[in-house]
């Protein structure tokens, strides 16, 4: 459950992080969740479950693809890979995000002085 102190991510943020993570290395759902948690040092409190709707969206847009495989723990898992379209989408989204962040940062910096 979310509390007031945790903000919702903006739309598309989770997808962006998923794509970036999978770009480095194809992963299955659980590993993907752990990886994002670890990398973000638990700063972003994401319900693990919320990955799945996001993954479904990416699948539907054909930005990732999934294949059943056997994991290191000998479990049948679905491994997600970024497609070419996914790569392109990620680049575009990241550069848009950086621009947005820069804009916000500038405004905030001006406010402090």
């Amino acid at each position: 459950m979310k509390t007031d102190e945790q903000r919702d991510l903006f739309p598309g943020a989770l997808e962006m992080m998923i794509l970036r993570t999978l770009k480095r290395q194809p992963l299955h759902g659980y590993a993907l969740a752990q990886h994002i948690k670890r990398t973000s040092h638990d700063l972003l409190q994401i319900e693990e479950g919320s990955l799945y709707p996001a993954l479904q969206r990416l699948l539907k847009e054909e930005l990732v693809k999934a294949e059943w495989a056997t994991s290191s723990t000998n479990r049948r898992v679905r491994i997600y890979k970024v497609t070419a379209a996914g790569t392109k989408h990620l680049e575009r989204e990241v550069s848009r995000f950086k621009r947005m962040l820069e804009g916000i940062t500038r405004v905030l910096a001006r406010g402090e002085s």
């Binding site: 693990e48 479950g49 709707p53 539907k60």
Partner: protein, 885 residues
């Protein structure tokens, strides 16, 4: 085709997802157990970190589907199941809505046909009517917005000089005896300038339009049939063109048939159109205003510009013809306003009234809905606890209310079909002929669109408030048992507001119908100035070939009336150029000896040509002087006039008129005529019209070939028609009895009576419906509150409250709501009845008697409605009530 593939692979997708989420949770648990947690702890920790599994699955599924539509479908499926599971509630709700929507749709069909649908002409908005008015007409036709006449020579000048009109056309009524299509029969016709149809932008469906030069005084030689008469009288014969028919004594060739959709309300009863065929006086005299004119505005001009131009042409004509045109003004009115002007206020009032009925129906169903949703609170709390969003709960309830509304709408559509035909059937044929657009009132796309809007409005109106209320349930309370004490509070208050509104609305409708009924009664009991009982009216038209000169007509009249008087059941027969109460008739300009007026500014009043015994047959009282008689007022005797009291009052201001002399100014040859008598006033234009100044001339000195007869019978005048017709044929077998009606029929079919009777019935029915619904609402609320307060009542009784105290308690609650409703209703009625002032007659829009008596009646009915639950409350058994919880 990607979506199609997705649609079919969805099952597999969902399966994959489930397996995947399951694997995720297991892997997590394994890891946690590996870290030393117990299996049970690990399982709940894994679920906590994962979030709501069902919701996540649901959201993941939503990615793959058209969630809006699919949610809707599932809501509808569930809603249907719920509604079928509770048929009593559903049937009551559906019937209530069906009545509301059905009544509204029926009225809308009529409103659409009359007010919204464009007239069936090309660019109807550019059609403007022109009329000449003279302020001197006083109370007569001129001051009346219905007047629509101009002089033919003026019309020709407008056509020649006007630039703001593309075309100007004129028309007039006409009538013939038709030979050559079955039995000889009098038919209504119309005559028009040859450019009439092209000005409207209408082309005949068969054959051709009139051509230049076909409008000759000796005509008509050609005719165009209306579609209806082509079908009815000529069997829709496609080879009709060129066929000859006989109109009166003239042979006329059919040159065209008008399209089926053609209608022209001002001459709505015309079966045959012929080119203008008018005699010398009507063509040349500027003082004879008789022709209605329609103009089509030029592309570049506006009505304002056209008015300015007509003003300047009129000023020039006034300078050129000071005697005839000195006081003439030209008034422009859009054709649409002239056609629907009279029914517009009536229809809008009916539309408003029926809208109230729908609001009351909504309030009632909403009240039912509130009670029912209250009973389902637990169901919704559980759904909320399982992760249903507020939006889903609202959409679920809205789906249910919209299903009910749609079912009600469907049933309402059937009611509306039936209601519309009832609405049209209730209009007298003679009036319907002049509102042909109403025949077009039926279900069409516009009506269906209205129905859909009404359904959606209704569904949301009664579904939204309960939906918002139920979805506002706090999560903390989610699974607790409903607590009795507080639960009903808000809902009962809202229902109270609804009942107050229902009572207020129905009071407004009741007052409206009370005022209408009172107007109708006042109108029907108005003394028309003559005895309308046992009176038969009809007309005879003498064709000029057989009756070329005035003495021929006088001879006919004498012989015919003598025959009539000889009939056993007939007390008297007389004639007048105008049938009273029909609103027809001519006016004339005059000067009074010794009262000089500026040239062209003479007074103008009604003129009637009456037979010598007219006043005695009609039982119109003689106030002073004498009536006409056969010896002193023969055709060769000195010319005398009789005036009515209104005339004496308006023009002589109380002086004695007898012996005064007046002169008509249309011709320099006119001499002074002496006033020999004053008679009582009569209602000429209709029962609601003011008493107009009139002059009477003896028929023998001012003869017409079209004579209106009135016959006083001993008993039912309708049964005399056969004998009267036989007498007519005995005098001249080729003559036809035109429009035989009893005076009672004429009154019943008159616009003035219709305009009160129709809304009396309709608003009356709406008000009755509204009252029933409001009382059901009140009864339902009070019963509900009694059942909610069983325990409280039980305690009160146990503590010694008497039956009458309990009764007061319950009745007090109902009385409070009723009183509030009555107060709001009276306040609303104060404003709203002002809107119906144009329909009222002989009663003020704020008539205190109506307001007070209706409020009292409503209050009494309300008390009765509350008595039933109050009796139940009185019989509360304290022991049972206290054991109840």
């Amino acid at each position: 085709m990607n979506w199609l593939k997705q649609l079919f692979s969805r099952r597999r997708l969902y399966g994959d997802l489930s397996a995947e989420i399951q694997a995720h949770l297991e892997e997590k648990m394994e890891e946690l157990v590996g870290n030393g947690m117990s299996r049970k702890e690990a399982e709940s920790a894994a679920r906590r970190e994962f979030g709501n599994v069902t919701l996540m699955k649901e959201e993941s599924h939503n990615v793959w589907r058209w969630s809006f539509i699919e949610n809707l479908l599932s809501d509808v499926r569930y809603g249907l199941r719920i509604l079928f599971g509770n048929p009593g509630f559903s049937i009551v709700a559906i019937l209530t809505i069906a009545l509301g929507i059905g009544a509204n749709t029926a009225i809308f069909s009529v409103v659409y046909a009359a007010l919204i649908r464009p007239l069936p002409y090309s660019q109807p908005g550019r059609l403007i009517t022109l009329t000449e008015v003279r302020p001197q007409e006083g109370q007569a036709a001129g001051a009346n917005s219905q007047s629509w006449v101009s002089a033919y020579p003026d019309y020709l000048d407008w056509t020649r000089q006007g630039k703001s009109f593309q075309a100007l056309a004129g028309f007039s009524g006409d009538g013939f005896v038709l030979h050559g299509a079955g039995e000889p029969e009098p038919i209504f016709a119309a005559q028009a300038t040859v450019n009439f149809f092209s000005t409207l932008g209408v082309r005949p469906f068969l054959g051709r339009d009139f051509a230049a030069g076909e409008d000759i005084a000796a005509g008509p030689k050609v005719a165009i049939l209306s579609y209806g008469s082509w079908i009815r009288r000529f069997g829709g014969d496609l080879h009709i063109l060129g066929r000859s028919i006989q109109l009166d004594d003239k042979s006329v060739s059919i040159i065209g048939v008008l399209p089926r959709a053609f209608e022209f309300a001002p001459r709505g009863n015309a079966e045959i159109w012929v080119p203008l065929h008018i005699e010398k006086d009507l063509v040349t005299r500027r003082s004879l205003r008789w022709m209605p004119v329609i103009g089509r505005l030029a592309e570049t001009s506006t009505q304002g510009q056209a008015q300015a131009e007509m003003n300047s042409i009129t000023a020039n004509l006034a300078a050129a013809y000071p005697q005839e045109n000195g006081a003439i003004r030209v008034v422009l009115v859009p054709l649409r306003d002239r056609i629907v002007g009279q029914v517009q206020p009536l229809l809008l009032i009916l539309f408003g009234a029926v809208g109230f009925v729908l609001l009351i129906a909504c309030a009632n169903v909403m009240s039912l809905f509130l009670v029912r949703t209250a009973g389902r609170r637990r169901e919704f709390n559980i759904r909320a606890a399982l992760g249903a969003s507020r939006g889903r709960l609202i959409s679920q309830l809205l789906a249910e209310s919209l299903i009910l509304a749609a079912a009600g709408g469907l049933l309402g559509l059937i009611l509306a079909e039936w209601g519309t035909s009832l609405l049209i059937a209730a209009i007298p044929d003679t009036l319907l002929a002049f509102a042909p657009f109403l025949r077009d009132a039926h279900t069409n796309l516009a009506v269906l669109a209205f129905l859909c809007v009404a359904v959606i409005f209704t569904g949301i109106a009664f579904g939204l408030a309960p939906a918002l209320q139920i979805s506002r349930g706090q999560e903390g309370e989610a699974l607790k048992e409903e607590t009795r004490a507080s639960a009903g509070g808000v809902r009962t208050r809202l229902r109270g507001v609804l009942v107050v509104a229902e009572i207020a609305f129905s009071l407004v409708l009741l007052i409206g119908s009370g005022l209408m009924v009172k107007s109708l009664t006042a109108l029907l009991s108005r003394d028309p100035g003559f005895d309308a009982k046992n009176l038969l009216a009809f007309a005879v038209n003498l064709p000029p070939t057989s009756y070329p000169k005035d003495p021929d007509a006088i001879r006919f009249d004498k012989e015919f009336t003598e025959r009539l008087r000889a009939l056993p059941g007939i007390a008297g027969a007389a004639s007048n150029s105008v049938v009273p109460l029909t609103g027809n008739g001519a006016s004339i300009r005059f000067v009074i000896e010794g009262q000089p007026v500026a040239k062209g500014h003479e007074n103008e009043c009604n003129i009637r040509d009456v037979s010598n015994n007219y006043f005695s047959v009609m039982k119109i009282p003689l106030r002073a002087g004498r009536l006409f008689d056969d010896f002193t007022d023969s055709s060769t005797a000195p010319q005398h006039v009789i005036v009515n009291e209104a005339w004496a009052k308006q023009y002589l201001h109380g002086q004695d008129p007898i012996g005064k002399r007046i002169k008509f100014t249309y011709s320099p040859k006119e001499n002074y005529r002496e006033i020999v008598g004053i008679v009582g006033n009569t209602a000429d234009a209709g029962l609601d019209s003011p008493e107009e100044p009139s002059l009477f001339l003896p028929f023998s000195q001012d003869t017409n070939s079209f004579i209106n007869y009135v016959v006083r019978t001993g008993s039912n005048p309708e049964s005399a028609v056969g004998e009267v017709r036989a007498s007519l044929h005995a005098v001249d077998p080729q003559l036809v009895l035109i429009q035989p009606f009893t005076m009672d029929q004429i009154i019943a079919q008159s616009p003035s009576v219709f305009l009160r009777r129709y809304p009396s019935y309709l608003i009356g029915s709406f008000a009755a419906l509204a009252l029933i619904l409001a009382m059901i609402g009140l009864y339902g609320l009070v019963s509900y509150s009694v059942s909610q307060r069983t325990r409280e009542l039980g305690i009160r009784i146990a503590l010694g409250a008497q039956q009458k105290d309990v009764m007061h308690l319950v009745l007090g609650e109902g009385a409070r709501l009723t009183l509030l409703g009555v107060i709001f209703g009276l306040l609303a009625a104060l404003g709203l009845t002002q809107l119906m002032r144009s329909l009222l007659f002989g009663v003020s829009a704020l008539d205190p008697v109506t307001f007070a008596s209706v409020a009292v009646v409503l209050a009494l009915v309300a008390v009765v409605a509350c008595c039933i639950p109050a009796r139940r409350a009185m019989r509360t058994d304290p022991a049972a009530a206290l054991r109840y919880e």
